[in-house]
Structure formats: structure tokens, C-alpha cells
């Protein structure tokens, strides 16, 4: 067993994809069957894939594999033992325990008892969906020698999402052009489930290398509009783009209140950066911002006078009151503010 552990560890190190994960944990693509597999992380899609991968690998080796689901939140004493006890025909079994982040009282002692004497032909997969609950379960599972630890953190950076798209196509033995992948992430990148579904659809409905045209045909006109993108367009003075993004954001269900907050935070940053002298990193330190934010804000400041920024803040305070019930139509108030801010920007 110890031998096997060392091998598994070294695989995860050499893969180079474990950055940002807790030490010893691996990504879902490296999930392999083991007496105990612990799947942590909040990204449900990836976790499901990890579990599916473990199941598939185990089934490839043992076609008669029996898969059992156990819900830890409504766990009743003895269930683990029942799953692990030898069956009539002795088929190998794979038990998937979900909800370990909110386990019932009896689960953790049973798990501890089971792990003290694990059954030979059973793969136990424990899924912990993140959060502070079930800490003891995690401790027990992590302390178990030979446990395979899989972590599925959410993909936050665009680069990670691009890599995900690339690997999705690779797995389907297809290719996607880099600009096309970029367009796809821009269009549906905020939700990983949607992104993976979109990849699957493109694989099914197109042939050859997927190009930008293919992505536009299916997902054209869809832009992930967030308050931040609206703010980007506004401080750059791009009137039409700002308005289009704002409409898109509101139409896809974004509340006006956080958009106003983002705009206000942006203007606040610009005023503070505009009022401070010195090297970028010094200013960043003084204001508690990231250095790249200071540089970006300085570029954006070119079109703005201090007076225009001050007037913008006054306008946003008025808008904040209007979107919080002071006015009749929050969206109108917000549009008016966005247009006025774009006009205040000097061309």
C-alpha cells in the first residue's frame, strides 16, 4: 500500500496541474480508483467528472462492478458496514458517499471504523462539496494512508477556462481554434456546466476544427455582461458599448444595485489614484490596491478631469437612491447615469 501511495503522489507532482490545490491533492483528470477516494472542492461539474472517471476506470477492470450511493446527510448507523460486507457472488463494489460536507452524526464514527479495516474489493468515494461542515470527516479521510485526494476548485481565471475547453475538445478527439475557444469562454464562461454543455454541443453539431464562425453561429450575440464590464465601458467613454452591455446585464437578470456599486467603486478608485503621486507600486500599497489596478486606473484617467469624477460621484449617489426605491424605474435611472458618465468622459 505504501508503495502505491508514493507512486500516486509522484504522478500528481509531475502533472504540474496541482498548482493552487492543497498539497497532495490532484485534479479530476488524475482521479483513479483506490480503497478511499476523497473528492473535495466546490465545482460540482468537475467533482461529478472525477467520480465518473473513477467509476469508469474501475468498471473497465471489473465489468461486474456494483455501484452504491450513500447520502451522508441522512446517514443511518451501519450503512457503510452493510455496503462493505461481502456479497453473495463477491462482485467488487464502489460506494459513492455524497453530502460529506453536512454529515449526519453517525457517519464520521462509522467511516473511522470502516477505514480501520477496509474491505479489499470496495472502492469508497467520499464527496465533500466544500464549506466548513464535516471537518472531522475530512480529517479522518485525509489521515488514511493510501487515500487518493482529488480537489475540484472552481475555475476562476479565463486561462483555466480556455484550458478546460481545449481539453474537452481533445477528449472528444477534435480541435478548436484559439480565437474560437476565446469567443466561447466570453459567451458562456461564467458557468462551467454551461461551458461543458456548449463544448459537447459544438462537438456534436460541427465537423472538423471548430472555428470562430461556428461559435458565433451558436452563441453569437451572447456576451457575459457583468457590472465590471459595464464599468469598463463607462470609464473608457464607450457610450454605445456601455449601453448595450447594461441592457444585456439587466436582461440576463443582474440587479441594478450592484452595478451602481461597481461604478461607484471604480470612480472612487480613479479619484484616489488621480490624487496620489509616486510610483505605481507605492501608490498601490498606500491605497491597498493591486499594482496592475493602479496602472490600469492611470490609463483610464486620461479622459477624465477631477471635476467630472466628482460630479460622477454625486450623480451615482443620486442613482443609488433611485435604484433603492427612491425613483420609479431603477433601470431608467441607471441608464441615465451610464449615459451621463459616458458624456462626462472627454474624447
Amino acid at each position: 500500500m505504501a508503495q502505491g501511495t508514493r507512486q500516486q503522489r509522484s504522478t500528481s507532482r509531475s502533472s504540474g496541474r496541482s498548482s493552487g490545490r492543497s498539497s497532495g491533492a490532484r485534479g479530476w483528470r488524475e482521479a483513479v480508483p483506490a480503497p478511499l477516494v476523497l473528492v473535495t472542492g466546490t465545482e460540482q461539474v468537475l467533482a461529478e467528472r472525477a467520480v465518473a472517471r473513477v467509476t469508469a476506470l474501475q468498471r473497465a477492470e471489473h465489468p461486474e462492478l456494483e455501484v452504491v450511493g450513500v447520502d451522508a446527510t441522512s446517514y443511518e448507523g451501519g450503512a457503510l458496514e452493510a455496503v462493505a460486507s461481502p456479497s453473495l457472488f463477491g462482485e467488487p463494489r464502489l460506494a459513492v458517499v455524497t453530502g460529506a460536507e453536512a454529515p449526519a452524526e453517525r457517519f464520521e464514527p462509522d467511516l473511522r471504523a470502516y477505514l480501520a479495516a477496509p474491505a479489499d474489493d470496495v472502492v469508497l468515494v467520499v464527496r465533500h462539496a466544500g464549506g466548513s461542515g464535516g471537518r472531522k470527516v475530512l480529517e479522518v479521510a485525509r489521515a488514511h494512508a493510501g487515500a487518493v485526494l482529488v480537489d475540484c476548485p472552481p475555475l476562476k481565471k479565463d486561462a483555466e477556462k480556455l484550458e478546460f475547453v481545449g481539453l474537452e475538445f481533445e477528449a472528444a478527439r477534435r480541435r478548436i481554434a484559439a480565437p474560437a475557444a476565446r469567443a466561447l469562454v466570453d459567451a458562456v464562461g461564467s458557468d462551467l456546466r454551461e461551458l461543458s454543455a456548449s463544448c459537447a454541443q459544438l462537438v456534436a453539431d460541427t465537423s472538423g476544427t471548430v472555428e470562430v464562425e461556428d461559435v458565433t453561429r451558436y452563441y453569437g450575440g451572447r456576451v457575459e455582461a457583468t457590472g465590471f464590464r459595464v464599468a469598463d465601458a463607462v470609464v473608457a467613454g464607450h457610450r454605445a458599448e456601455a449601453l448595450a452591455l447594461l441592457r444585456q446585464a439587466v436582461a440576463t437578470g443582474l440587479d441594478p444595485v450592484p452595478i451602481v456599486a461597481v461604478l461607484a467603486a471604480r470612480l472612487r478608485q480613479m479619484v484616489l489614484v488621480g490624487g496620489s503621486r509616486g510610483r505605481g507600486d507605492e501608490v498601490a500599497k498606500a491605497l491597498g490596491m493591486a499594482p496592475w489596478m493602479v496602472d490600469r486606473t492611470r490609463r483610464e484617467l486620461r479622459g477624465w478631469t477631477p471635476g467630472a469624477l466628482g460630479a460622477g460621484i454625486v450623480l451615482l449617489a443620486e442613482t443609488d437612491a433611485a435604484v433603492k426605491g427612491g425613483g420609479r424605474d431603477p433601470v431608467y435611472a441607471l441608464e441615465r447615469a451610464v449615459l451621463a458618465l459616458c458624456d462626462a468622459h472627454e474624447r
Binding site: A264, S276, I313, V314, L316, A317, D320, A344
Partner: protein, 384 residues
Amino acid sequence: MTVWDDLVGQEEAVAVLRRAAALGSGALAHAWLFTGPPGSGRSTAARAFAAALLCDTGTGCGTCHACRTAVQGTHADLRVVATELLTLRIDAVRELVQAAQRRPSTGRWRIILVEDADRMLERTTNVLLKAVEEPPERTVWLLCAPSPEDVLPTIRSRARPVRLRVPPVAAVADLLVRRDGVDPAMAAFAARAAQSHVGLARRLARDEGARTRRREVVRTPLDLSGPTDAVVRAGELVDVASEEASSSTAERDARERAELLRTLGVEPGRAVPPALRSQVRALEEDQKKRATRLRRDVLDRALLDLLSVYRDVLVLQLGADVDLVNASMVEDLRALASRGGPAATLGRMDAIGTARERIQANVNPLLAVEAMCVALLPEPVGAA
């Protein structure tokens, strides 16, 4: 000594209340609405009136058991309702309606005193209507609000009004010297700086930190020269308010939580069982609401101090013959007064008023104060 001693500068109201307290059942109005600016002593007046009604000697002697317990709000027949949250809960008010039906146990009257009648939503107020209109023979309602407009007309028309005025500065200073043993010079300063708000004056007189904070706040107009100053200064104002609010709540929040857990039988350090979590959550929500209210109140107080500066500037600009609130910074005030005309000063006072309204209307406090500071800049910024 009488129960009326702590109520300063309200001779007219006291005379009315004294006469009423001497009346027997049938002649006494069954609902009273105490109105007056913050700090004028609305709840003090209401408590004193309650004490006079419940007093063993019937005069409000201030020495009998009934008087003392009534003033402290612990008398068995007196129910005091106040809230530290943003609004009074509807459940709490429904309970009052039931309590109003009971006969007094030891005293002559059952008295229900609502200190924050203005902090009721409309539907909450409607629960009270029937009970206030026709209470049982021996029940008296005492409601307090800053102004009659703060309660619904339907309540207003059912209650007898008692208007308190802003007490004279000298009377407040006197009270501080007499009751709290404050040095006369300090008492005069505090009473003037607090603009006759009794509670605030007491705090200013006794708390060095409060004086320092006030000094910082009233200097704000002098520090503003451009939008950057406005944003920085606004950030400081809001931070100071949050700090002051959280420093006074953090300890209390933790204690309340520990007490609740003990009542629920959860051992310290152990996780709260799922079945009890909703109770802990309810407490946390209350604490959060209380913190919001406190943060707003502290910030509002700072804005009022700032308003007093522009009031003084306006006094100087118009050459009015009234005392300055911030007499200690008269040179700075003259400099501010020379910067523009009364119209500009009034515009700035409006900006402060707008910020106060916006903060009450749940606008992000930082944004509201930033906008206000921009409006206070010496050079007006162009319209966006």
C-alpha cells in the same frame, strides 16, 4: 425632589402633565403623543408622567417606590417598548395590544410607553389603532416620536399631543452641573456643541474621545479642496463611524451569543445542533440590524455636527444676532463665510440634509457621504 427634575426647559409641558396626572379616571386622556426634537427629553417626559400617574402619593414625589421603579422602567404596571433595531417588530406590537387589556396590578393605571413610535412600519402601526382608540378604562398609552408627522394621521388624531421644545442651552448646562457634576465651563461648551441635546451634551462633557471625534468632524470643511480630498475625507468619516459602532457592539454581541448558547444548553466550544441553529441565526440577524442602526446613528450624528458648522457660517454671513454653536473655531468659520454667499451655504446645508436622507433610505453610506463632500468643495464641480 420630584420626577420632573430631569426634564429641563419644558415648563409648559410639565405644567400640563402635572395637571393631567392629578385627574382621576374618566377625565384623563387615554393616549398621549410626546413630540420634540431628539434630545429634548421625550422619553424622560413620558417616564416622568408615568411615574406621576403611578406615584403612591399621587403627585410624582420621586421618592416613593412606585416613582423610582417607574422612572427606571421596571414598575409592574409600566411597559416600556423601545427598539435598537431599525423598526419595531410587528410581533412585539401585537403583544402590546394584548398587554393593554390587562388591569393594573398594584398601581392605578396600566401604562404602555412606546419610545420609538416613529420606528413602526405602516402595517405595524395599524395593529395599534384599535387598542389606542378604545383602551380599557385603566390603560394609558404614551407614544414618543420626533414630530407629529412621524406617526400615521390615524394615530395622531387619537392621541393628545405634548410638544417639547428645544431646551435653552443654559438649562441643559445647568442640568449637567447639577445631575452629573460636570465642571460649569465644560457643561456650557458641551450644551452648546450638542445644540441642547441632553444625552449628547452629557457624552461630550464626559467623554474625551467624543470631543476629539467631534473636533475632527467639524474641521472637515477646512480640509476639502478637491475631489480627492472629498473621497478620502468621506472614507474617514464613514470608517470612524463604523469603528465607533462596532467597538461598542462587538463585546455585547459575543456576550449575548454566549448567553443564548447557555440557555439552549449548548456547551461552549461545541457545534450548535441543526435544530437550534435557527435561534442562533435569529439572534445574529438582530445583532446585524442593530449594528446597521448604530452605524447610521453615529454617522448621522457626525453629519449633524457638520451641519452646525454651516449653520454658524450662515449666521456670520447674515450677521444674525444669535450665538454660534462652534464658537471655539470662530476664525475658521469667518474664513469659510468669506468664501461665498448665503445661497452657497444653504446649498451645502441641503447637500448634508440630502446625504442624511439617503443614508436613512439605505443608500451606501460611503457613496452618500462622498457625494456630500463633493458638494461641500469650495469650487463647485461641473454637472455630469
